[in-house]
Symmetry: C2
Subunit: 113 residues, 2 copies
Amino acid sequence: MKSVPLYQAKAEMFRLLGHPVRIRVLELLSERPMPVRDLLTAIDVEATGLSQHLAVLRRSGMVTAQREGPTVVYALAGGGVANLLVAARTLLTQMLVGRNELLNELLAEAGAP
Amino acid sequence: MKSVPLYQAKAEMFRLLGHPVRIRVLELLSERPMPVRDLLTAIDVEATGLSQHLAVLRRSGMVTAQREGPTVVYALAGGGVANLLVAARTLLTQMLVGRNELLNELLAEAGAP
DNA sequence: CCACCAATTGAAAATTTCTGCAATTTGCTA
DNA sequence: TAGCAAATTGCAGAAATTTTCAATTGGTGG
């Protein structure tokens, strides 16, 4: 039964998140469930491109889709996504700060060699 | 100055994590700093391939490298990475559970249609 | 100094992922 | 029921990533 190593499942999950459009979608959905039309106006992407990315997220089980009349409403499948996005923001901050410190050191060296 | 939108920076960060070898490296380093040689015995990858992935992580500022005599010791650059990996495990669990529930529903349907 | 081990680099080949187009599906309403 | 809007699908070309190979650097012991 056991087929995919855990670290590979993790990598695949992160890869899912590794696209600007999909990140935007998840961020928007972490505020509230939303029809495709709203996502489309909020994100700079063609309808067909958005559909592709939504399909990726749907297949992974990270979001759910539900048809409501003429529109389809998407929602996050669970709270875990929002948590991960928060952790990501924290790490990103650290990384950017780290870079900035390095940059400052380089500038200091250049100023007074 | 402000050049890259935040959601794109996030996507790039996730993309960094989207590879099995890089995930393994970060998990191992979250236990303790480690020379390349140890990573090499723990992960199923060629030395040259590992170097490529280490270079990716280094350039991003997620890990640091320090030469100690004949070997190079790598370490996580900050605690944020470890936190993110924990959040990832949680989300992955949720996703797998969600899938399992869906699977069970399908099996139930098939059993008593 | 030379030979060797650890690790890295650069670049081409192989693979994966993205984008954009044409065509289709679904539900509503005139 | 014909027509329209909302979404999706399948696919081909373009773009990005990964793998692999040959060559190189840094450090150490003989």
